[in-house]
């Protein structure tokens, strides 16, 4: 299969504007007779649905939650990047582009990332116009903060609930279109297959999760905005319902999967407390603006944090990476935490945690406050009290969440944190137009592989989701649909729909009639452990080969032994989970294959065999400067295709945050 990424010719900085002014258009009258399905209502899905409906297309949205507003974008905490340079600190489109490519360890496409940086500013403008209440300074202008992997302040935020505010903004735009009938919503619905006719995506099969009814929906184009697949690890910061099913069905219908092994392990999450754990909770990267990460200098130190004097603490990020300090990119920070814990310096009962300490920030802010208020002789206690107030204003909701989960007060005791699975850079392969290799089938947001290379920078997921939905797809989809204006409404009584529906129904009836003995979670947890141990923060060839074998055995056991209670014609969360875990059990194998194939370390993908003397990721650009595009050949067989990455503007080098 030849790979055509359809990147426009011309100078990098001109590609997008040239594309926009030369792509095909669909006139308003024709838009009215074109149907578009949007699966998933997170930032990418809601923004795309609203924008396409505004343009005049007929849109249907699907989500498994009870309302579009609940998609997991809502949980994004820290912020959204944009190259506005409001802080006058040297930011520019080029610099955001450069930081993103470098942060991704030179495994992303230049043209896509440059476009992302170009539209980043428009996103902020759009959100402000929608009434998103971003944080502001006293002068009334927008406030910024820093995130990892950058040396400028370009992150816009709304306290620790930026994702919520941006999603509710996109959701409000979506609701506006629902109210005028331009969007029809299908909530509590799960997409269970893509229907292709003559090679083109023409609709989906969905299950009404309340009634169990299997429905057919036809459309001229299908957009998958279904998020990432971090839940293949069972424990992750994803929502319980986040899954790969829609993307995986598309993959099985011919769409290639790009870089499946590129997983982001976020450095600052609340550590696992026991076997009962159902998910992990992130503590926003924004905390690394003020929190200092440390472990004791002595191995197996059992003293309380408070009893360890300053000179016996190892601020290992500041020591190893003085230029970026605590704000190194996520992959670097995660590996450094693992290295310290593996070497016996970890803290807490499990010894698999490091401290994130706000004591010095509290003092620093307290002193500033005292100066502001003219209190020259403020006591230590008063300074700390004022400092805590400032920290509370900045991060109050995160500190509260930490206290509820752990029962500890992070204002007085340092937080204990450890890395956890958070985001997947891999996803459905798409071209410059966000179309998969199946014509008419698009993937937006985290569901695609496109913009973050081997590691995503903090506050860039929100940027990409909204860029794809608000500013990219409205142009690129027209380029395809302009040739579909003669295609009548898709008839759902065609054989392709019959076949897809039958397959979906057969699978459901297998689950319902399987007289197994073990719950879906039993298998999901087992899969998660295999993935975390052998395809997690550090990987090696031997472990990956074992993992593939173990997953195959587990998958067979799953199909024979899974028990799904209840019935298929009513609300049945266990049945929903069974379908999702079945797909994770296939994806897991492909992730391990991809990790095995990529014999180098880059970004979040760390192969133990490939590291520098200092333990940093060692890329092999001569052999692996490509996107791994996996084609499903059926029967758990895949064929690897390679899309070469060409760097015209940036010269890849060893990433240096020292």
């Amino acid at each position: 299969m030849a790979i055509n990424n359809r990147i426009p010719a011309g100078e990098l900085a001109q590609k997008w504007s040239t594309y926009k002014s030369t792509c095909k258009l669909v006139n308003p009258a024709n838009k009215r007779s074109i149907d578009i399905i949007v699966v998933g209502t997170g930032l990418a899905g809601a923004s795309a649905a609203a924008t396409l409906a505004e343009l005049g297309y007929n849109v249907k949205t699907f989500c498994f939650q009870d309302s579009g507003r609940r998609a997991h974008s809502i949980a994004a905490q820290g912020g959204i990047n944009a190259a506005k340079n409001y802080q006058n600190d040297g930011d520019s489109v080029y610099r955001l582009f450069y930081d993103t490519i470098k942060g991704g360890d030179y495994r992303a496409r230049e043209a896509n990332v440059h476009r992302l940086a170009e539209v980043s500013g428009n996103i902020i403008d759009q959100c402000v116009a929608q009434g998103v209440p971003f944080a502001r300074e006293y002068g009334g202008l927008l406030s910024n903060r820093s995130f990892g992997g950058t040396q400028v302040q370009r992150t816009f935020y709304a306290a620790g609930q930026t994702g919520q505010q941006l999603l509710l903004g996109a959701y409000s735009a979506q609701m506006r279109q629902v109210s005028i009938g331009a969007i029809k919503e299908y909530n509590r619905h799960e997409m269970l297959d893509v229907v292709t006719i003559d090679g083109k995506a023409r609709g989906i099969i969905a299950r009404n999760l309340v009634t169990g009814e299997i429905e057919r929906h036809g459309a001229h184009a299908v957009l998958l905005c279904t998020g990432g697949y971090g839940n293949v690890f069972f424990l992750s910061t994803n929502a319980m319902g986040s899954n790969v099913t829609a993307a995986w069905k598309a993959h099985k219908k011919g769409a290639m999967f790009g870089n499946p092994c590129f997983t982001q392990i976020h450095p600052t999450c609340i550590p696992v407390s026991g076997d009962h754990q159902s998910k992990l909770t992130l503590m926003s990267e924004s905390l690394r603006n003020d929190g200092r990460i440390w472990v004791p200098k002595k191995q197996n130190d059992t003293r309380k944090a408070f009893d360890i004097p300053e000179e016996e603490r190892d601020y290992y990020l500041e020591r190893r990476y003085p230029a970026f300090g605590n704000l190194v990119p996520r992959d670097v920070a995660s590996r450094a935490a693992k290295e310290r814990c593996d070497a016996g310096y970890g803290v807490g009962t499990s010894k698999m945690a490091v401290y994130l300490d706000f004591a010095s920030a509290i003092k620093r802010y307290g002193k500033i406050e005292a100066t502001k208020q003219g209190l020259a002789n403020a006591s230590e206690d008063e300074i700390i009290k004022m400092g805590k107030q400032v920290v509370k204003e900045k991060y109050g909701n995160l500190f509260e969440m930490y206290a509820k989960i752990t029962g500890e007060d992070p204002y007085t005791v340092p937080m204990r944190i450890y890395p956890a699975v958070h985001y997947t850079m891999g996803g459905l392969w798409v071209d410059y137009e966000l179309m998969t290799n199946v014509p008419g089938l698009y993937a937006l947001g985290e569901a695609n592989f496109s913009d973050h290379g081997a590691n995503r920078l903090g506050a860039s997921a929100l940027m990409q989701g909204l860029a794809d939905g608000y500013f990219v797809i409205p142009y690129t989809i027209g380029n395809y649909l302009a040739d579909e204006i003669r295609t009548p409404k898709i008839d759902v009584n065609q054989k392709a729909f019959d076949d897809a529906e039958k397959e979906v129904k057969d699978r459901i009836s297998h689950f319902m009639n399987n007289k197994g003995t073990k719950s879906v979670d039993y298998f999901h947890k087992k899969l998660g452990l295999i993935m975390w141990d052998k395809c997690g923060m550090a990987r090696n060839a031997e472990g990956l080969k074992q993992a593939i074998q173990e997953i195959r055995v587990l998958r067979e056991e799953f199909w024979n032994e899974v028990r799904v209670p209840g019935s298929a014609d009513s609300l049945n969360p266990e049945l929903d989970k069974a379908g999702r875990v079945a797909d994770f059990l296939e994806l897991g194998e492909l992730m391990c294959m991809d990790a095995l194939n990529r014999e180098e370390s880059c970004g979040g993908h760390f192969r133990e065999e490939h590291q520098t003397e200092e333990g940093e990721a060692l890329r092999h650009d001569d052999k692996f400067m490509y996107v791994s595009c996996w084609e499903n050949k059926g029967n758990y067989q895949w064929e690897l295709h390679k899309e070469d990455l060409v760097y015209d503007v940036i010269h890849p080098s060893q990433r240096n945050y020292k």
Binding site: H72, D125, E137, A159, Q164, N187, M240, M401, L571, E574
Partner: protein, 252 residues
Amino acid sequence: MEHSNINLNLKVWRQKNAQDTGKFETYKAENISTEMSFLEMFDVVNEKLINEGQDPIAFDHDCREGICGMCSMHINGRAHGPWDGTTTCQLHMRAFKDGETVTVEPWRASAFPVLKDLVVDRSAFDRIQQAGGYVSVNTGNAQDGNALPINKELADASFDAAMCIGCGACVAACKNSSAMLFTSAKVSQYALLPQGEPERKTRVLNMVAQMDKEGFGACTNTGACEAECPKEISISNIARLNREYLSAQLSL
């Protein structure tokens, strides 16, 4: 953190579907670590039910970090349980004593019909939002984000209202099943910002009309909504809605 294991008696509302009358069933939750969240305790109970060949208890949940607004249990007579300012998913078992009986019900409101067990239909909230909870600005029309300075206090107050997660606890807590706290939070978010100004009057009128149409009750200012709101949305938003509503009506 110190932790221990406890045993609980659960009284849980079971209802097959919207048509079923439903009833309480009792279950034992054994060996529950006090470090678990309330929903993780339910996971343990459900795992046991599945292994015994019984139908597990259906409940809504998703993010499990207190922000999606999906979880919705009425626990011991309180929406989201005993902790103030906390969603069910963030409630931890430290809140309960060994041997305690815990009663769990779905949200009770005619505008939120039960779909199954503890799962209710909250689509009425979406329809209230559709009636006017937006700024009519198409993508691509926006001016520069800093072109219009906004007073920080107003922006912060708008944010405080916009923090609503749409879980419906306010309705469940209210003896009249009023949706005033939810509706007023959305009205306030926009009323406090210049972007909301052009549609200020029609927004409040239409959203209140839709709220009434959905069958939510009237507000009698008991304050139960504010007390139970997991995001501690202030009842002063209701006062603002009333002012907005009155002035919109008077100027018609």
